[in-house]
């Protein structure tokens, strides 16, 4: 039997999280190195379209559990379904997004299957000799990288943050098989119930923004983010922040970029007053173009910046904002 490389497809309310497709792209590379197959797991209610979409992103086969008990995510019900499928089909590798859902689920599954799990992986490859999965992740706040193996237990499990791997191309002509499976769990057996949901007023789409304008301690205070927000909005981007200023309470945690925050890979990342501690860099170093503004010429951020500007951000940004406004007025 061919080794199976599995991807858990995360979906909520009929919408798949793009990290699932990013993982299918990586799963394809791993499956090729193993002469194996790429398969996806889709759980939820009314998720057939998502199962089909998984095929267009490279799944050769999709195991689908479509059940009203899976209407919204719960650890109990989703873990039950995934564990059941793993026990039945014995995958070689299981990848999940390092999202709230994926991380919640992964720890439960790995424990039930008594296997190893590596969180927040930034690199995945197959050892050409042993055919084991080499999982690389930052450790100690991103100060070092560690590659981890799980040689004697299966599946080899990893969670991967959104935007770590590129989105593969979608191919509508690709053919694949959808295999329907039963959950085998009824609502009255489930202990946790959702009794309400308060949607976020504004969802911060930092991970998928094309432009991120980030601020650090060099802003001098929380009011500095007004300037960054203005610049970000002019470029249809989002505001980001370093851990230091989030810890200082200048801005919400959901804006934090780095090892303990979000991973971003925008077309342009503008780091303003950020020294660039390694724990920040691991969350943004895959950006296409990095522009850094900092008064300290020795700031580590300059080691990875494509365009490093040594100077006061309060001198540079207001003029930049004016220049962009001028550019935009020509366009109209």
């Amino acid at each position: 039997m061919k080794p199976k490389v599995w991807v858990f497809v995360e979906q909520e309310e009929g919408k798949a999280h793009p990290v699932s497709w990013e993982l299918l792209g990586k799963a394809r590379e791993l499956a090729e190195a193993l002469s194996g197959e790429v398969e996806a797991l889709v759980l939820g209610q009314g998720v057939e379209l998502i199962a089909k979409e998984a095929i267009t992103y490279g799944a050769e086969r999709v195991y689908m559990i479509d059940d009203p008990v899976l209407e919204y995510y719960r650890n109990e019900t989703y873990a039950h379904g995934v564990i059941k499928l793993c026990e039945k089909y014995r995958p070689e590798i299981l990848l999940l997004g390092a999202t709230t859902m994926g991380r919640d689920l992964a720890g439960s599954i790995a424990t039930a299957l008594e296997t190893g799990l590596t969180a927040d992986v930034t690199g995945l490859e197959i050892d050409p000799e042993t055919k084991n999965l080499i999982m690389t992740r930052p450790a100690f706040g991103g100060n070092i990288m560690a590659s981890i193996l799980c040689p004697d237990h299966r599946p080899q499990m990893s969670t991967v943050r959104p935007r770590t791997f590129p989105l593969p191309e979608k191919d509508e002509t690709r053919q694949g098989e959808i295999v329907r499976e039963d959950l085998g769990l009824s609502e009255n057996e489930v202990k946790v119930k959702r009794v309400g949901f308060i949607p976020k007023e504004k969802t911060v789409n930092l991970e998928y923004a094309d432009v991120v304008v980030s601020g650090g301690r060099g802003l001098g205070g929380p009011e500095g983010f007004k300037l960054l927000r203005e610049l970000a909005e002019l470029l249809d981007g989002e505001v980001g922040a370093s851990r230091a200023v989030v810890d200082a309470g200048w801005i919400d945690y959901e804006y934090q970029v780095g090892q303990t925050g979000k991973t971003v890979r925008p077309r342009v990342y503008i780091a303003c007053g950020i020294s660039g501690a390694i724990q920040h860099r691991v969350g943004m170093q895959n950006s296409d173009l990095i522009i850094a503004v900092n008064t300290d010429p020795e700031a580590p951020i300059f080691r990875i910046a494509d365009l490093g500007i040594v100077g006061d951000l309060y001198e540079v940004l207001p003029e930049l904002i004016e220049a962009i406004k001028k550019e935009k007025s020509y366009e109209q």
Partner: protein, 270 residues
């Protein structure tokens, strides 16, 4: 109410430095702290104790120095502190850790069952967020992760209502006790401990559990031996080669701004 809190002593990762010559971690002088999310779990336990009355048991697995974290937990109102310390626990990954903690909790629950099991959402040294879910699975209790608030705790009907933070908003979840909750930082603020509590903390001494006593643990499931994952290689991350660097003091603001505008246009964002 019987509450268990599981904590971890961690190096303050914001203070970790790398030796640039050897590429290794400089651990000397790095202070150890209670993992901040575990401190939030302790703060929640403390709040619930003041409101409903509770007995708080705090456990940690670690070297003998982890005793300091447990003594600090007493300032939060811990009534019983237990240190799981044994060379056989060394090198444990999250699977072996969850086994060790879960077996200990089962043993303690034999004396008096727990209503609530509190963990931090993750530890800042590893950021795995796996141990809480693993322990819940081993104990067979419902798991609710990323909790930011306890809205209601009904000791009569034995039900809890909590707020759980996701990327899309706040889920309000109801569960019967016992339940295992992993805590985010908003869940509780450290209490102002009265002097008597601080004195009690300073004088406290944890019970130390080994791999055999009082809970006989399966040797093959402990520490490095019981860990399916292996560290294959450790290295310092590669840096990409730096690009152009301009000093505003030399080039002037308008040249710098022009450069940025050109770069933004090249990337198609302007």
């Amino acid at each position: 109410m019987n509450i268990l809190v599981s904590i971890k002593q961690v190096p303050d990762t914001t203070n970790i430095r790398i030796n640039p010559e050897t590429g290794t971690l400089v651990r000397e002088g790095v202070p150890s702290i209670i993992n901040p999310y575990d401190a939030s779990a302790l703060a929640l336990a403390s709040k619930l104790k003041r409101r409903y009355g509770a007995k708080i048991t705090v456990i940690t697995m670690g070297p003998p120095q982890a005793e300091a974290a447990l003594k600090e937990a007493v300032e939060y109102g811990a009534d019983r502190i237990i240190l799981l310390s044994d060379r056989k626990f060394a090198g444990a990954d999250t699977l072996a850790t969850s086994y060790t903690l879960a077996e200990t909790i089962k043993y303690l629950a034999g004396e008096a069952p727990f209503d609530l099991l509190l963990f931090g959402k993750q530890a800042i040294d590893g950021d795995t967020a796996q141990v809480g879910p693993g322990v819940a699975r081993r104990l067979g209790v419902p798991l609710i992760t990323y909790v930011v608030k306890v809205e209601k705790l009904d000791t009569e009907t034995r039900e809890i209502v909590v707020h759980r933070k996701t990327e899309r908003g706040i889920e309000i979840l109801k569960a019967p006790l016992p339940v295992l909750i992993t805590c985010d930082r908003e869940v509780g603020e450290p209490p102002f401990s009265p002097l008597s509590e601080l004195i009690r903390a300073a004088k406290s001494k944890p019970e130390v559990f080994s791999a055999e006593n009082p809970v006989p643990l399966e040797r093959a499931k402990l520490g490095l031996k019981g860990s399916p994952t292996r560290v294959h290689r450790v290295f310092t991350p590669e840096l990409k080669s730096p690009g152009e660097r301009i000093f505003v003091s030399e080039a002037g603001v308008s040249t710098v701004v022009e450069k940025i505008i050109t770069a933004l246009k090249e990337k198609g964002v302007l």
